[in-house]
Subunit: 227 residues, 2 copies
């Protein structure tokens, strides 16, 4: 992992809530390691289209700052629009509802990483294979090593995009509401409702009855984001 600072350009410099910008690449990578879904923004015509997507991360990937990988069907419109274009990949984890004493000071505790970069179509077979493994392992760590390699037909149907992680920002809110003095003196309650994601016990597919759950999946389902 490189030690480049975050926010190297104006368009990834946090302006609003600047005190929430955590300028540490390691914190961005910790968020990316934990998250499961990214929201990818691409310009289509005169407007942005935002779609949820699985992703994978190679902190030591070939791009400056490391590489974030996306994949999709070669026929997907958003993917065609993204190749060679500047895209925005945003990953958000919600940590709590911040219930203040006024509507104005209501907020959320969260961590959100915004990556902006030119999406490169990955054509090298080795990098493609590695990228697809990383996307699977993001969901269930270690799982790609237990699966057969992709077929030629599967590879032909799949496009892989690489987005450099060099141009990125991270915004974090945590802790109590921040209320106006007068509202605090009013004696009202305020606080945080913690939010977390839980992965429950695996449900075996109908066509896999009797097959034991493999260790990688069992370990994943036991995992729970610490509060």
């Amino acid at each position: 992992m490189t030690t480049l600072p975050l926010q190297p350009t104006p368009r990834t410099t946090v302006v609003r809530g600047r005190h929430r910008a955590v300028e540490e690449r390691a914190a961005l990578h910790a968020l990316l390691a934990e998250a499961l879904v990214a929201h990818v923004g691409v310009v289509v015509g005169d407007h942005a289209v935002v779609l949820p997507s699985a992703f994978g991360v190679d902190p030591d990937g070939p791009d400056e700052g490391g590489t974030l990988y996306l994949h999709g069907s070669v026929a997907a419109r958003w993917l065609t629009a993204a190749v060679g274009a500047t895209v925005c990949v945003t990953v958000t984890e919600l940590d709590g509802l911040v219930a203040a004493r006024s509507g104005f000071h209501h907020s959320m505790n969260y961590r959100s990483g915004v990556v902006i970069g030119v999406a490169r179509e990955v054509l090298d077979p080795d990098e493609r294979a590695r990228a697809l493994d990383l996307v699977v392992d993001q969901m269930v760590p270690g799982r790609s090593a237990t699966l057969r390699p992709p077929t030629r037909k599967e590879l032909a149907a799949t496009a892989v995009l690489a987005v450099p992680l060099v141009e990125a920002s991270l915004k974090v809110r945590s802790g109590d509401p921040v209320d106006d003095e007068a509202d605090v003196e009013g004696g009202l309650w305020a606080g945080v409702v913690p939010v977390r994601r839980v992965l429950d016990a695996p449900l075996t597919a109908a066509d896999a009855g009797g097959v034991p759950v493999p260790p990688d999946v069992r370990a994943r389902a036991a995992g729970e984001r610490p509060q």
Copy 2:
């Protein structure tokens, strides 16, 4: 709530995974009622910027199909760029990790709504007040009624945007992995790791010690998304 069909235009017609497009407005509203964070896409310069945001929904709002409300600081760059422009608001709930017998068939169970529309700045004081209440109540239902009204200063610092819900699509995946016949016959395990969001017991703010947790917040924290 209107009964307009979803996907009235080509740009919100689901092309990939068409079988996952649920053409029911009620299902979109159910997703919007449950979600806590939206990802808003705006074109800034030559690329999209995607930012997480709280939101509120008025199914009977003044816009065709109902109204989705966003708010932010009047100084926020994304908000300035969004006023009068076409924006994309995407709301995604992750329901499970779909662990197939091949990397290619790995997937996620999810519900994702994509709304595309011109963002109207809300200027009418009554609509602004109602929109801000809806954003608070999206986090903690009923809470806005327990709070003081916003001050003039707070209102002057806040911009409210309305996005019509008429042009929208909903994509849903649920259930087991869909594997190739040959992989199923190989006898490997496959299945789903269910994912859900949990709201834990409220944490009282340091400056509210001894004040009892109000019923709205208690009810919210007890709420859990059904599995």
